[in-house]
């Protein structure tokens, strides 16, 4: 096997990670979600540090397994995946491309940039379908930990909103 330098391996891993998707929101890669903190490749061992989204999110275990599988498929075996809690994950780390992908998938992306309680109170979430700003909150909690349920008052469609966190 050829010896690849540390940088090339790390670069390759970042590329591979762009193809590892969230099992709950399959349009978002782990890079789009902003959960990958660090990739370290030293000799034959690889360490990937990820930040969990929500404490109880069952997708986290599946994501770790999928990362491992993707690396094995690309011939990279000895991988350690470490979870790091601090600094806590925030939707601010979601990429702009990720937010666009969410909208076209029918999920409203996080509106605010920071976790600001004042802002949350008067939050306007545009409808991802007809783009109207005339929408209402149905439930603060949705089908997964990261989402809330909204409805558009104009096109009447209910939709998911990826909460600011």
């Amino acid at each position: 096997m050829e010896t690849i330098s540390k940088n090339i391996t790390e670069e390759k891993i970042w590329e591979i990670l762009e193809e590892v998707y969230d099992p709950e929101i399959p349009v978002l890669s782990v890079i789009d979600l902003g959960i990958v903190r660090e990739v370290n490749a030293e000799n034959d061992s690889i360490e990937i540090i990820i930040t969990p989204t929500y404490s109880g999110c069952p997708a986290m275990d599946v994501i770790s397994m999928n990362i491992r599988m993707a690396l094995i498929q690309n011939g990279l075996g000895d991988v350690k995946i470490r979870q790091q809690l601090s600094p806590a994950w925030t939707t601010d780390w979601m990429t702009e491309i990720g937010k666009q992908k969410l909208t076209s998938y029918g999920i409203a992306p996080p509106v605010s940039k920071t976790f600001d309680k004042e802002y949350l109170e008067k939050l306007i979430v545009p409808c991802p379908l007809c783009h109207s700003k005339n929408t209402k909150l149905i439930s603060e909690f949705g089908s997964t930990s990261c989402k809330a349920l909204y409805q558009c008052n104009d096109c009447r469609e209910p939709f998911d909103y990826f909460k600011c966190h």
């Binding site: 404490s55 909690f141 349920l149």
Partner: protein, 263 residues
């Protein structure tokens, strides 16, 4: 990992971490009983989402407690042994968390009291001298902020709702109130730990909690019970209500009957 766990501070840190874990696990387990029984689909999903967040927090604290504990009887402690193989007297959760759900209004009040308490605890624990406790608190605080908001809105809706909803939640308020005092009464291992600043002095958050809670109760047009009333206690020292035993019997059954059983 070589962790010196022989000194008292570390033992108290284990107790403290288990206390935080047990609170979240027992509360989360109770709320999970609502799965499929919520008053509407959206609210069923909301309350079980909160349960999921709490069980996630419990996992983080148990995992940390396991690394601090090392081995017991030759068996290494894990998050699962701590949750499934300890007995009632070893649990250090607040009595409030183990009380039966009752009707929707009672469950809502339980969440509101507990989440508001967690909110102020985590807000201070972010500055804990113990890095891992601080990290878990930082992560959990974001989730708890949503729990407080959601349950607070429901308290107002029910209190200021129909005559029946008002009456029911007022009764729940009177019944649950004696279980709130324990949240602000430190026990021995908490006091010992505070000298090392890894934990917090719960007496210091009582005022903030009371302000938050009484504000919502007033908006909900409910009557705040006597703040200086006699209060129940014992949970943090392993002296529980009869309800905990039933929870553990159900929750721990599989690991007791089939030791080491895995998916």
């Amino acid at each position: 990992m070589d962790t010196q766990i022989t000194d008292h501070t570390s033992n108290h840190l284990i107790d403290y971490t288990l206390h935080l874990a047990d609170n979240s696990l027992i509360m989360g387990h109770r709320l999970s009983e609502w799965t499929g029984h919520g008053p509407s689909l959206e609210q069923d999903i909301a309350i079980t989402n909160i349960a999921l967040d709490l069980i996630g927090q419990a996992r983080n604290f148990y995992q940390y407690a396991a690394t601090l504990s090392g081995s017991k009887n030759g068996q290494p402690a894990t998050e699962d042994t701590l949750a499934y193989l300890r007995d009632g007297h070893e649990f250090k959760n607040l009595l409030l968390t183990e009380l039966p759900n009752g009707h929707w209004g009672k469950s809502i009040l339980k969440i509101f009291f507990f989440s508001s308490w967690q909110y102020f605890v985590y807000q201070k624990l972010i500055y804990s001298s113990d890095k891992q406790v601080a990290a878990i608190a930082e992560k959990s605080l974001k989730e708890v902020t949503y729990h407080v908001r959601w349950s607070g809105e429901w308290v107002m809706r029910l209190g200021d709702g129909t005559e029946e909803s008002h009456e029911k939640i007022q009764e729940a308020l009177d019944n649950l109130w004696p279980y709130t005092g324990e949240m602000f009464q430190p026990v021995e291992w908490e006091n010992e730990l505070n000298t090392g600043s890894a934990g917090i002095d719960v007496q210091n958050i009582k005022e903030d909690w009371l302000k938050k809670v009484s504000g919502i109760i007033e908006k909900a047009k409910l009557q705040l019970p006597d703040v200086n009333a006699w209060m129940q206690s014992g949970g943090k020292n392993g002296i529980h209500t009869e309800h905990l035993g039933y929870i553990l019997t159900e929750m721990q059954f599989l690991q007791r009957a089939y030791p080491g059983c895995a998916w």
